[in-house]
């Protein structure tokens, strides 16, 4: 294995799960998430030489997000071309297709299912920022990098996203004894 490839695995692949989780929330579809992640990792590998210094996770999630936007545009234009691997790997597809996802995981409690559903129903920019802050635990600066907006926008958007989720949650559980606050 060449040196560049080895360095890439050491430096970037520890963040593979974070990139996968983010891809799942961005795409809503396990198979789209798979394609997105693969394409993003390849792009990251091609651009690996331009990675400078510190924050690999923010760098990688930026690539995932940009790739997501690219694929969305391609799909809307109808020029989306499937990756060749899809046809070669039928078995894998079946396996990944049956993995429970953030939006469909078999969670027993109502509250968990509710939360999942509420998250999926949020506007994309709200869902995205909540995932980056609360699940990936990124700081404002990194979120600004990934979402390509100034830090001031990160702060106001995050506030709106939190308020929106809270409001929907209250709406959902209002009248029930275990209502939040």
């Amino acid at each position: 294995m060449d040196d560049r490839r080895r360095r890439f695995e050491l430096v970037v692949l520890p963040h593979l799960d974070a990139a996968y989780g983010f891809a799942r929330w961005l795409t809503h579809s396990p198979s789209d998430a798979d394609d997105l992640l693969q394409e993003a990792i390849l792009r990251a590998f091609r651009g690996f030489d331009s990675l400078r210094g510190s924050n690999v996770k923010a760098w990688l999630l930026t690539i995932v997000r940009n790739q997501h936007l690219t694929m969305l545009t391609q799909q809307r234009r109808g020029v989306f071309v499937s990756l060749p691997e899809e046809h070669e790997l039928q078995d894998d597809q079946v396996m990944t297709g049956t993995m429970p996802g953030p939006e469909s995981a078999s969670i027993q409690q109502d509250e968990k299912r509710t939360l999942d559903r509420l998250m999926s129903a949020l506007p994309e920019e709200h869902r995205e920022i909540l995932v980056l802050r609360e699940i990936e635990e990124m700081d404002y600066r990194d979120i600004a990098t990934v979402t390509d907006v100034p830090i001031g926008t990160v702060m106001s958007r995050l506030a709106r996203a939190r308020a929106a989720l809270k409001a929907r949650w209250l709406q959902e559980v209002s009248g029930e004894p275990h209502a939040v606050r």
């Binding site: 490839r5 890439f8 593979l16 799960d17 996968y20 989780g21 799942r24 798979d34 992640l37 693969q38 990792i41 390849l42 792009r43 990251a44 590998f45 091609r46 651009g47 030489d49 331009s50 510190s54 760098w59 930026t62 997000r65 940009n66 790739q67 936007l69 691997e85 078995d91 894998d92 990944t96 993995m99 953030p102 995981a105 409690q109 509250e111 939360l115 998250m119 920019e125 909540l130 802050r133 699940i135 700081d139 404002y140 600066r141 600004a144 990098t145 979402t147 390509d148 907006v149 100034p150 830090i151 001031g152 926008t153 702060m155 958007r157 995050l158 989720l165 809270k166 949650w169 606050r181």
Partner: protein
């Protein structure tokens, strides 16, 4: 009507405030019921999201598929891959969507997001604050470390498009600690970095254009003071107190007057 401190309260909750600001917000939330309630809401949302949503790890089959794709990438070394490497290794201003093959898409999308999110904000202010906040991260503050203006000033000549006034005001409490190059208004701007007590003050400068000069303002807890001297637009950014920041601005204005 939202409390004016609500965003700073959120920043406190997210661990984004320095110790002094954090203490201010702690005092604030003792008597502001609205911000105290906000803190509780934030905590509930966080607890719910962290505990009740499953964290997905990459399925092994997908990992294997990605490894095979990487193998192919290494083996082929396609012209596209090489072109992409060359393209992405060019340096770009940090706030653009870096490394993206999405290029126009990403920028267009971010413009749309920006417009819908904050229709009345001046992007220049956001850029300045972002640059200031970013400069406070390790290794980002200073490109040339020096307390000597005879070192800092010539450095700008080779690295930026402008030549701002530089001096050490250690006597007056503003220690020159270095300089940095940044990118504003389509130019390589010069940033002179001062330390005042525990606070960092970034003094940005770039060639003034015809656009109206932004008004002095406070955003996200950072003060911004704008002034012009000669053909240069200056902006000092810091979380130090207003009068302290203006103290440095006056010193710099006097210096410009002397040199001009």
């Amino acid at each position: 009507m939202q409390c004016a401190e609500s965003l700073r309260t959120q920043a406190y909750f997210d661990g984004e405030l320095d110790a002094v600001s954090a203490a201010i917000i702690e005092r604030h939330t003792e008597h502001c019921a609205e911000c105290a309630a906000l803190l509780k809401d934030f905590e509930q949302v966080r607890t719910a999201l962290r505990h009740d949503l499953p964290y997905e790890s990459t399925p092994p089959a997908l990992q294997a598929r990605i490894m095979r794709a990487l193998d192919k990438e290494v083996a082929v070394k396609s012209p596209r891959g090489i072109a992409e490497r060359q393209r992405s290794s060019r340096s770009r201003p940090f706030w653009r969507g870096v490394f993206s093959g999405a290029g126009g898409t990403a920028i267009a999308a971010s413009v749309i997001l920006f417009l819908t999110a904050a229709p009345f904000t001046d992007p220049l202010l956001d850029d300045l604050i972002s640059a200031h906040v970013r400069s406070l991260m390790p290794d980002h503050l200073i490109d040339v470390v020096s307390t000597d203006k005879h070192t800092v000033k010539p450095w700008f000549a080779g690295h930026t498009d402008v030549s701002p006034v530089v001096a050490d005001f250690n006597q007056q409490g503003y220690r020159l600690i270095g300089g940095r190059a940044d990118y504003f208004e389509h130019q390589r701007a010069a940033v002179v970095v001062y330390q005042h007590g525990a606070h960092v003050i970034n003094v940005f400068s770039w060639e003034a254009n015809k656009a109206a000069m932004p008004k002095d303002t406070t955003r996200n807890g950072y003060h911004l003071v704008f002034w012009r001297a000669g053909n240069l637009q200056y902006c000092a950014v810091s979380d130090t107190a207003w009068n302290e920041l203006q103290g440095l601005v006056r010193l710099l204005q006097d210096l410009s007057a002397q040199e001009g």
